[in-house]
């Protein structure tokens, strides 16, 4: 497990331990890894979008 975490750190996947654990769990369930990776990327994007939206809202409030 740690080895995997080290590996993911090396490859700069941006995953923390818990996410990695979840992902590994999902792969053990037989999920297609590519789809999984796509999901992860989507989620990341969503999160980024949300954060950006929040930042904009904060700026708007700060400005007004």
């Amino acid at each position: 497990m740690d080895a995997l975490y080290d590996l993911s750190q090396l490859l700069e996947t941006g995953l923390d331990r818990e996410t990695l654990a979840v992902l590994i769990g999902l792969t053990e369930q037989g999920v297609n890894p590519e789809a999984l990776a796509a999901v992860v990327k989507e989620l990341r994007r969503e999160s980024a979008a949300l954060r950006a939206a929040e930042a904009e809202a904060a700026e708007a409030e700060g400005g007004s």
Binding site: L26, E34, A48
Partner: protein, 845 residues
Amino acid sequence: MPDPTAVTALVRALIEAEVPELPPGDERALRLLRYALRILGSSMPSALPSASQSAELARRRLVHAGRTEDALALSRRLRALEACPGARNLPCVLHLLTCLMQSPPPGSLAAFARGSLLERTGGRAIESGGASRPSRAAVPLPSRRAPSCSDGIGRADASALQHAAAAAAASGGAAATSASAAPARTGWRAGAGSGGVVGEEALVRDLLYVMQNIEGRHLKWDDKADSFLFQPAERPRGGPPLPQLTPAAAAAAASLAPGVVQAAELSEWLRLLAVLESQRLQGLSLQLPACLSLLQLLVWGEPPLQRFVTLVAVVRGCSHLRGGAMTVGVERLGQHGDPAVEAYVQRLLRGACAPLLESLREFFIEARPAPLAELWEKRYALRPHMLPCFLSPKAASRALLGGKAINFIRLACGEGQWTFDAAAAAARGGAAAAAAGRHFGAAFEPRTVNLAERAAGEATLSAAIECACSRANEKLVELLLGRHRLQEHLTHLKEYLLLGKGDFVQALMEPLLPQLSRPASQLHRHHLLGLVESAVRSCTSPGVAAGSGNVGSSGGGSGWARGGSDSEQLLLLAHLGVLLSSSPGATGWEAFSLDYRADPPVSAVLSAAAVGEYRRVFTLLWRLKRVELSLSAVWRRHTTAARLVRALSSDALLHRCHLLRHEMVHFVFNLQYYLMFEVIQCSWEELVAALAAASDLDGLIGAHSAFLSAVVQKAMLGPENAPLLEALDALFETILRFAKSQELLYIHLLEQRAAAKQMAAAAAANTAAGGWGAAGAAEAEALLAEGDAPPLQPHFYEQLRVHAAQYRQQFAAFFAQVTRHASLDLTFLSFRLDFNAYYESLGGA
């Protein structure tokens, strides 16, 4: 089999981990969950790469990113992992990790996200016309996800593309790449989500196939439209790029057909396609931002498309032409307004001209089958319409000449392996040609070239051709004059066929005289040939004695003997022959003529036609000789008779005979002089000078034929001199008849004399025997005693008068024609014939 509940739980946990901003019970979280589940539930097309493959990929990318020590660390870790017992999913995990590798950290996703946001709301943004509001971020998602709304998605895609283009134009490279990534993403997403809609990625793949002239899954070749059409019959999505790429595909198809195969072009095109394909595959497998999209395909494909369109036009225009004509056609097509097109066509032209420069001969010179004897004339001819554009006709004819010379040398002169100074000249010529080619390459640069440069290039090329040509011709002339002894052949011809060698003629005439009076059917070639040979031998200095060899027989009635070594006599004998023309009822005189047979190299100059001309002149001269001989025979008879019949010299009849004979002799001698010296010898001098000055075989042939035609012309054998020739013939006939009658006269005289002698002898014998002399003894005695000429029969007088009248008349006619003739030489002849104005006075009187 994935356990749904477990998966759901895990995915929820994932969402919580990845998207911490959302409160867990949020509706959006639920939506995300459903969305994630859908993705996971869809079937992805690609197969799972093995652990080593993923590892290799990861390693490569690490190295590419410059982190080599990390790559090494990776290998170490992997080995450790493989040893680890709990690693049964290693391939999956590795694949996952590699996919997630180098995803930019969430912070820097802002710009990316903005682009994607813009893109996502593109459909709505066009209607609303405003920048997207973040609250709308999630809203378009459901509408897009709906599989039933294929049209909407289609529209969204199209507008997405357009918007992506706009975005690309507006915000520069990063946005462009992200925007182009996004349509691919959405396309993929749509393709993954709804099965009935063809995704962009599939389109891209198909397009790549199409560009290689292979039918893709969705783009099929349609013969009617002569292009690739999009099927299934949905409205073509991504409208703008597609129609433009289909002509490119058509062009690719056409150019792959036989025709002008510009291998370089094709390989370039294929290379581009390979790059694009690799890009696409790369993007597909790794979900990189820089993956292939329709737009990219369009942009990349645009220049080659233009080129291909031009190429197709050129191919269609020139497909029926060959060789040099093709280059002319290509050049004509290259006069296009668009400089890019022109440049391209010029490049094509250069490529097309390159093989031409090496093998100039094959294209615009055609080879026709011709026998070896006519090699020079008939074998090669110029095909002017196939002349390549940079070669002027003059240079082409020079090249033809050079080529013919070389070929002639190789084939006819038997110097099979002769190459003119092989390396040096070829190198020089080749270098010149290459330089010329480069000149042309430069000259073909668009527009700014001036004609002078092109002319300079042409000049270099023609100089190269000229150089090669002159060398070949020099060699040829040298060969002909030297090894094949052309000049000697011509000398032989002049001396023997044109009766230049007096002693030969004398030696020939004597034995032939009795033969030729017989009818021609009774004459045998070999017999005559033997006579000719002996005459030749007797008059030339005894050279190397050799056997007479075989008598070769050939069709057409000529036979000739073959000599063996190099002496002049044998050379002559090898070629001299006897021709018996087979007209029935003719005496030997008409049928006989000498023949000269020449072998291939020399026969280019001494063609059969030339030898025929020689024969005509020979006939004329031969008749003249015969006449002369008969006249001198008459004189000889007279002298012999005069010794026997002493009173002959004072006889009136005979005196008149003498006078007539003398006139005839005068005429004949002058004519002969004219023919031999003024006609033949003068032209011969000219011929020798021309032979020395000739630079190529054509020059030799021309000089020789000029010589022949001059001779024929001046010897009154030309077609316009036919009446003159007839008059001459009549004169000859008259003379011959006169000569014959003179012979009869003398024979008669001698017979008379012999009879008288006999009678006298008989009378003397009688007297000696004691009897009276014979009855006619008194007459005989009178004869003997007087020693006078007996009175001649009156018919001799008659004959003489007739002959004289005839002769004078014919001569007057002939003479009148000669004096009135346009040619200067004949005027001189007439002057000589009538040097004391005798005939003039006769004619006037």
